[in-house]
C-alpha cells in the first residue's frame, strides 16, 4: 500500500457520509431502527406476553373425561376449573391409557381440546392426557387438567400420610433450603446481567455490524462504478490506498454509529423499560476499552472484506448476491460461540478469526480480562485485519475497476 494522507482520506470519507445521509431512508435504516429497536421490543414484548397469557386464561376448553369411575374430588376439581367437561366410559381394547386409537380424530377435528383417561387400580390411579401439541388451545387444556390432577394428588398424599400417623410436612420435605436461593448467589446483579447479556450482545453487535456494512460497502464501490462517478474520482491526485481508506472510514463510521445507537437503545431499554427482568451489566473501564477494540477490529475485518468483494463484483446485483450469503454465514460463528463454555475455554478458540472476537465480547461482558486470551485475539485480529485491508487494497489497485470488468 502506498503512503496515505489523512487529509485526502478525510475528504473522501466526508463526501461519502454526506452523500449517504442525504437519503432519508438511510437515516431510518441506520439510525432510527437501531435506536428504537430494543426500546420498542422491551415495551412490546411484555405487552404481547401479558395479553397472550390473558387470552389463554380466558380460553374455553372442552375436555373429554374417559373413565369407568371418577373420584368425587377429581370431578369437583375438573368442574371448578374453567373447562367444559364431558364424561364417557373408557374405550375397550387399550394396551395403555396413552394409546390414542380412534380418539386422535376427536382432537384433530378440534371436537375436544384434551382427553383425560383415568382408571383406578387398587390404591393407585393411572391416567393419561391425550392432546395435540401443535395446538396452543389443546396444550392449555392439558395444563389445566394436569393442574387439577396435581392438586388432587397433593391433597391425597397428605391425607394418606396423616392417616398413617405421620407429619405430612416433614415427611414430604425432609431436606429444605433455608432463606432464598437468590441471596446465596455471590454474583452481583450487574454480573448476572453481564452473563445474560454476554449471550445476547455479541449476537446483536456481530450481526448488526455485518448487515449494516453491506449496503454502504456496495454503494461506495461497485455502485459508484455503475453510476459512472468512479472514473472522475480515479483521475484525481488521490492514491488508490487513500481512496480505499477514505471509503473504509466512511463505512466504518456509518456502521459504527448504527451499532453504537443499537447498544445505546439496548442499554436504555434495560435500564428504564426492563429493570424488573435484567440489570445494566457492571464492567470495568478496561473491559469497556477492550470491548470497543474488539468491535473495532471486527468492523475493520468485515468492512475491508466487503469493500474488496464489492469492488471485485461486476455489478451492484452481483455484489448483493455475493455479500448477502456471507452476512448470513456470519450467523455460524455467532451461534457457535454461544455454546462454548467460558469457564474452561481452550485458548485455541481465541486464534480463530471472527470467532475469537465474539468470544472476547462474551468474556469482557463478564468482566473477565484473561491476559493470554486478550493477547491471542488481539494479535490474530490485527493480523487478519491487515490481511483483509491488503486484499482490499489489491482490489482497489486493479486497473479494470473503472470498467465493469472483473
Amino acid at each position: 500500500m502506498s503512503r496515505i494522507r489523512f487529509t485526502q482520506m478525510r475528504v473522501v470519507a466526508k463526501k461519502e457520509i454526506i452523500e449517504f445521509i442525504r437519503d432519508w431512508r438511510t437515516i431510518v435504516a441506520l439510525i432510527l431502527v437501531p435506536l428504537l429497536l430494543f426500546p420498542l421490543l422491551f415495551i412490546a414484548f411484555p405487552l404481547v406476553m401479558q395479553s397472550e397469557a390473558q387470552e389463554l386464561q380466558e380460553l374455553d376448553v372442552d375436555v373429554l373425561v374417559q373413565s369407568d369411575y371418577i373420584d368425587s374430588q377429581i370431578l369437583f376439581g375438573l368442574n371448578e376449573s374453567n373447562m367444559s367437561i364431558t364424561i364417557e366410559s373408557l374405550p375397550s381394547g387399550l394396551e395403555s391409557l396413552s394409546q390414542p386409537l380412534n380418539d386422535s380424530s376427536l382432537l384433530r377435528s378440534y371436537q375436544y381440546d384434551a382427553i383425560l383417561r383415568l382408571q383406578q387400580t387398587n390404591d393407585t390411579w393411572i391416567y393419561s392426557v391425550l392432546y395435540l401439541s401443535t395446538s396452543e388451545q389443546s396444550t392449555e387444556a392439558r395444563n389445566r387438567v394436569l393442574e387439577v390432577l396435581n392438586n388432587w394428588e397433593t391433597n391425597e398424599t397428605i391425607q394418606r400420610i396423616e392417616a398413617g400417623g405421620l407429619d405430612a410436612d416433614s415427611t414430604l420435605n425432609p431436606l429444605r433450603w433455608d432463606g432464598t436461593i437468590a441471596d446465596a448467589d455471590v454474583a452481583t446483579k450487574g454480573e448476572q446481567a453481564g452473563l445474560l447479556l454476554s449471550l445476547f450482545i455479541p449476537f446483536v453487535l456481530a450481526l448488526w455490524t455485518a448487515s449494516a456494512a453491506v449496503q454502504p460497502a456496495i454503494d461506495m464501490t461497485v455502485g459508484e462504478r455503475e453510476r459512472g462517478t468512479l472514473e472522475a474520482l480515479l483521475s484525481l491526485p488521490l492514491s488508490r490506498s487513500e481512496l480505499l481508506m477514505g471509503k473504509w472510514l466512511a463505512v466504518v463510521t456509518i456502521t459504527g454509529v448504527g451499532v453504537a445507537l443499537q447498544v445505546a437503545g439496548l442499554l436504555f431499554g434495560i435500564a428504564f423499560l426492563a429493570e424488573d427482568l435484567v440489570n445494566v451489566p457492571s464492567i470495568s473501564i478496561g473491559s469497556v476499552l477492550l470491548l470497543t477494540l474488539a468491535v473495532g477490529l471486527y468492523g475493520t475485518m468485515i468492512v475491508a472484506l466487503y469493500l474488496s468483494l464489492a469492488m471485485r463484483s461486476k455489478s451492484v446485483k452481483e455484489a448483493g448476491t455475493v455479500l448477502t450469503p456471507i452476512t448470513l454465514a456470519m450467523i455460524v460463528p455467532i451461534l457457535l460461540t454461544q455454546f462454548i463454555n467460558l469457564d474452561d475455554v481452550e485458548s485455541f478458540w481465541f486464534a480463530i478469526p471472527f470467532v475469537n472476537v465474539l468470544l472476547a465480547l462474551r468474556e469482557l461482558l463478564l468482566d473477565r480480562i484473561i491476559l493470554e486470551h486478550v493477547l491471542i485475539w488481539i494479535s490474530v485480529s490485527v493480523f487478519v485485519s491487515a490481511l483483509t485491508i491488503r486484499y482490499a487494497a489489491k482490489q482497489f489497485s486493479r486497473e479494470d475497476i473503472v470498467t465493469s470488468r472483473s
Binding site: V11, T229, E231, A232, P237, E399, D400, R405
Partner: protein, 274 residues
Amino acid sequence: MNENLLHLTDVSKSFGEVNAIEHVSLDIKDRSVIGLVGGNGAGKTTLLRMMAGIYKPTTGRVYLKDGQNVDQMRSLLGVVPESTGLYSKLTAWENIRFHSRIHGIEDSVAWSRTIRFAELLDMQDSLHRYTEGFSRGMKQKTALLRALAHGPSILLLDEPTAGLDVTSARIVRKLVQRLKEEGGTVIYSTHHLAEAEQVCDRIIIVHNGTIRADGKPEELLQLTNTHSLEEAYVSLTSEVARPRQEDSIKTSKFALLWRRLFTRRHTYEVNEDE
C-alpha cells in the same frame, strides 16, 4: 514557441488478449486544442485514461515535461469523463468543491474560479442545486466547472458534446475556445469531424488502437490528397473497425459453461410464403 507539456513514448495498452492501443507516440504542446478523432472502440478513451493516469501503459511511458509520471502530477490535469461522474445527492458546487479539496485548493479560490467560468456557461444560478435533476447539458457544464476549478494545465475532455443539444454543445465549444485564448491546453476526444475541425488546431485520427494521422486540418488534407476532412478520415480508416474493448469483458470458463447450460438456441422454420 509552444512548450511540450505531456509526452507519450511508444505507448501500448492491452487488456488480456485485446490490444487497445498499439505503439502510440505523441507530444502535447501547451496553448493548443488537440482533437482525438475516431469511431467507437478506436481507443480514444483508453488513450485519455492513460494520459489521466487511470490506466498504466503495458509498454512505453506517459510523462510530463519534467519527466515525472503523470499519476504523480494529477493536479496539473482537469478531467471530464464521458459519464461526467457527478454525485447526484450533492449540489453542483459541492461536487466541484469535493474535487478541489482533493486537489488541495482552498474553497474560496475554487469558488472564485468556478464563478468566473459559471458566468460563461450560464450556470451561476444552478451552483447550489442538486445535480440529480440536471439535464445532460447542465451535467456536462458542471463537470467542466469541476475540472477547471483547481486551475489545471491540461484539460482532458472525453466526448464533451455527446448527447448535448445544439445550444449546450455550442457553449461547451465556446468555453474550449476561450481556454485556448487564455493559453490553456485542451485534449478533446470526439467522433464528430466537423466539431474537431471547428475547435481544434491539431487533429489526431485514432483507429483500431493506432494513430493514423496527426496534424493540422490542412496537413491531413494534404497527406491524404483529399478535399474534405471526412474524405481524409475515410481514406485513413478504411479497414473494418474492431469491437469496443469493453465488449470483450473477461468471463470465467465456469461462468460461461454455466450460462450455456441454461441457454437454448431457438431456430424456426422459414416460411417461404412470407
